[in-house]
């Protein structure tokens, strides 16, 4: 059995999500190959070759692959897929965008967002915002899968030395064109990779007030996240959103500030190891899943917490 993981990368380096997808492939068993499609993407391929557990790296270079548009990437993966029992991608906006295209062109089902491997054809996946777990068996010859990052601890980025094989690109269909991107820049860790997350909700009242959380995050080495309500209100950009249809996170510590705890938000963070909730409403559902709750005014509690952490840091 040989499995293909489609790497998420920015041509220069692998994204951490690729390591989780490699780990899921390893959990299924068999030889793991990684496809790096890109433009001048050899550095990313070299990084993939070092990942522990990778048997071979396929490198396909083509100007059209620079932004990994779904139409072009899917055409390449479909050409390679018959050599594999499984095709895996991270369940990020990258993987979700192209993988169903691959499945449809192969005339197979896609198994979305798997959180467990039962056997090479049977997988566990959350449905209904994680309020139920379905165990599904695929009858198809090739299994196309997207992987829930938080369910598979990342494969080690070093320790391997896989050969890199160049594969031919597939001519672009010219169906779509990359126009531009506005990527959030931050010195803080990425949400899906952070050990600690400080998240704000509607209770923050304004985007300006998120400065309180940023200060706290900087003392903890944390990322800053948000609930849908805070994003919809325009307090913070969309890439902050944690939840059923945003980012799924499972850090060591998740501090929910001014978040009431709608099931759609809980779906994105309830697998965190420790949850802290700060909310003025004692009845807020977030408290039911929080390990430590504080009832009170966040505008008083957050600065207090900030000061307490600063005090202990210096002492």
């Amino acid at each position: 059995m040989t499995l293909l993981v489609v790497a998420e990368h920015d041509n220069k380096a692998l994204k951490g999500s690729t390591l989780n997808a490699v780990a899921a492939a390893a959990a299924i068993d068999g030889d793991v190959h990684v496809l790096v499609a890109g433009r001048d993407a050899r550095p990313a391929a070299e990084a993939a070759a070092k990942v522990k557990g990778v048997a071979k790296v396929l490198l396909a270079e083509e100007p059209a692959y620079e932004h990994l548009l779904a139409e072009d990437l899917a055409a390449l993966v479909v050409k390679l897929a018959p050599n594999y029992s499984h095709v895996l991608a991270p369940a990020t906006t990258f993987g979700k965008n192209f993988a169903p295209r691959v499945a449809a062109l192969l005339d197979v089902a896609q198994i979305s967002d798997i959180s467990g491997v039962v056997s090479p054809d049977t997988f566990v996946r959350p449905i209904y915002a994680g309020n139920a777990l379905a165990t599904v068996q695929s009858k198809d010859k090739i299994k196309v899968i997207t992987v829930r990052l938080t369910a598979f601890p990342a494969a080690e980025a070093v320790g391997g030395s896989a050969p890199i094989e160049t594969v031919a690109a597939v001519a672009g269909a010219g169906l779509s064109r990359f126009v531009g991107a506005e990527l959030s820049k931050s010195e803080r860790p990425e949400l899906t990779a952070a050990r600690i997350i400080v998240s704000g909700g509607r209770g923050m009242q304004s985007g300006d007030n998120f400065k309180l959380l940023e200060s706290l995050a900087d003392k903890l080495g944390a990322a800053v996240g948000a609930s849908r309500a805070a994003v919809d209100a325009g307090f913070v950009p969309n890439d902050y959103q944690v939840g059923q249809t945003g980012k799924i996170v499972a850090p060591e510590l998740y501090i929910a500030v001014g978040i009431s705890g709608a099931i759609q938000h809980l779906a994105g963070m309830k697998d965190s190891k420790v949850i802290v909730a700060i909310n003025k409403d004692e009845e807020a559902p977030i408290f039911q899943i929080a390990d430590y709750g504080i009832v009170g005014d966040l505008f008083k509690i957050v600065p207090e917490l900030d000061a307490e952490l600063a005090k202990r840091k210096t002492s």
């Binding site: 062109l105 309020n131 379905a134 531009g180 950009p237 510590l253 929080a290 709750g293």
Partner: protein, 249 residues
């Protein structure tokens, strides 16, 4: 131009779903059903295209049991012109839905097909991409902005790192994200008018599509419950607990 909008009937987003004791699925009897929220956003976007003079004809498509006609009526009340209902009582998985949508698209020849990026029941996030692939069309998924001009669609997409804009050749498939728009409530006169709008009924057989499920659900279980609910009285106590009990800071 003609626009197709897919609308799925799902358990309402406010309902706390319960797993059936026999582990075959979740309880749907006597549970409030609604249009998938992402599909509402899709209908709204289509209606706005029509109001802007870009779309001429909006067709709302739903698939599943007879009750899906209620979901189509909701779309008609929001401003869609007519409906198509594919009657199917058995389970329809995303690949089957994409194939049925393709058959309808070949009949109706729309320039744009709008779907929600994901349905909040099975959380698959597949159908739009599959449909685009089967038709050989371009796709703009997770859209937060759409501009249609001179045979092209400019779609701004919500991606993990921020926003990305792509230009799509029409015809194209677009899937909606939350920030695309805020769907309107249907007014009473429009709800009355919607009752007179036509809904065509089709079947998978008539569309010559094999809808046999490819994935077999072996069981559905409840996830482990978190033991939460503890409260602390002060910030000092919280920091102590995080340091010495949970050991996470």
């Amino acid at each position: 131009m003609k626009v197709l909008v897919a609308v799925k009937r799902v358990i309402d987003f406010n309902v706390k779903v319960r797993v059936k004791p026999d582990k075959t699925g979740v309880e749907t009897a006597n549970v409030k059903m609604s249009m998938n929220p992402f599909d509402e956003i899709g209908v709204e976007e289509a209606v706005r295209l029509k109001e802007a003079g870009v779309a001429t004809d909006i067709i709302a498509v739903s698939m599943g049991p007879q009750a899906c006609q209620e979901t189509i009526r909701t779309a008609l009340a929001m401003g869609a012109d007519r409906g198509i209902h594919v009657l199917a009582d058995a389970e329809l998985q995303p690949l089957a839905v994409a194939k049925l949508m393709k058959a309808i698209a070949e009949k109706e020849q729309p320039q744009l097909i709008v779907l929600g990026k994901q349905a909040i029941d099975d959380d698959s996030n597949q159908t739009g991409q599959m449909l685009a692939a089967l038709l050989g069309w371009s796709q703009g998924t997770f859209a937060s902005k759409l501009k249609v001009e001179s045979g092209k669609a400019l779609v701004t997409r919500e991606i993990d790192g921020g926003l990305e804009t792509v230009e799509l050749k029409l015809p194209a498939v677009m899937t909606t994200d939350l920030r695309l728009n805020e769907p309107r409530y249907a007014s009473l006169p429009n709800i009355m008018k919607a009752k007179k709008k036509p809904i065509e009924q089709l079947t998978p057989d008539a569309l010559k599509v094999d809808v046999t499920p490819r994935l077999v659900t072996l069981k559905v279980e409840e996830p482990q419950k978190r033991q939460g609910g503890k409260k602390v009285g002060s910030v000092q106590e919280l920091v102590d607990k995080l340091k010495n009990e949970a050991r996470v800071i």
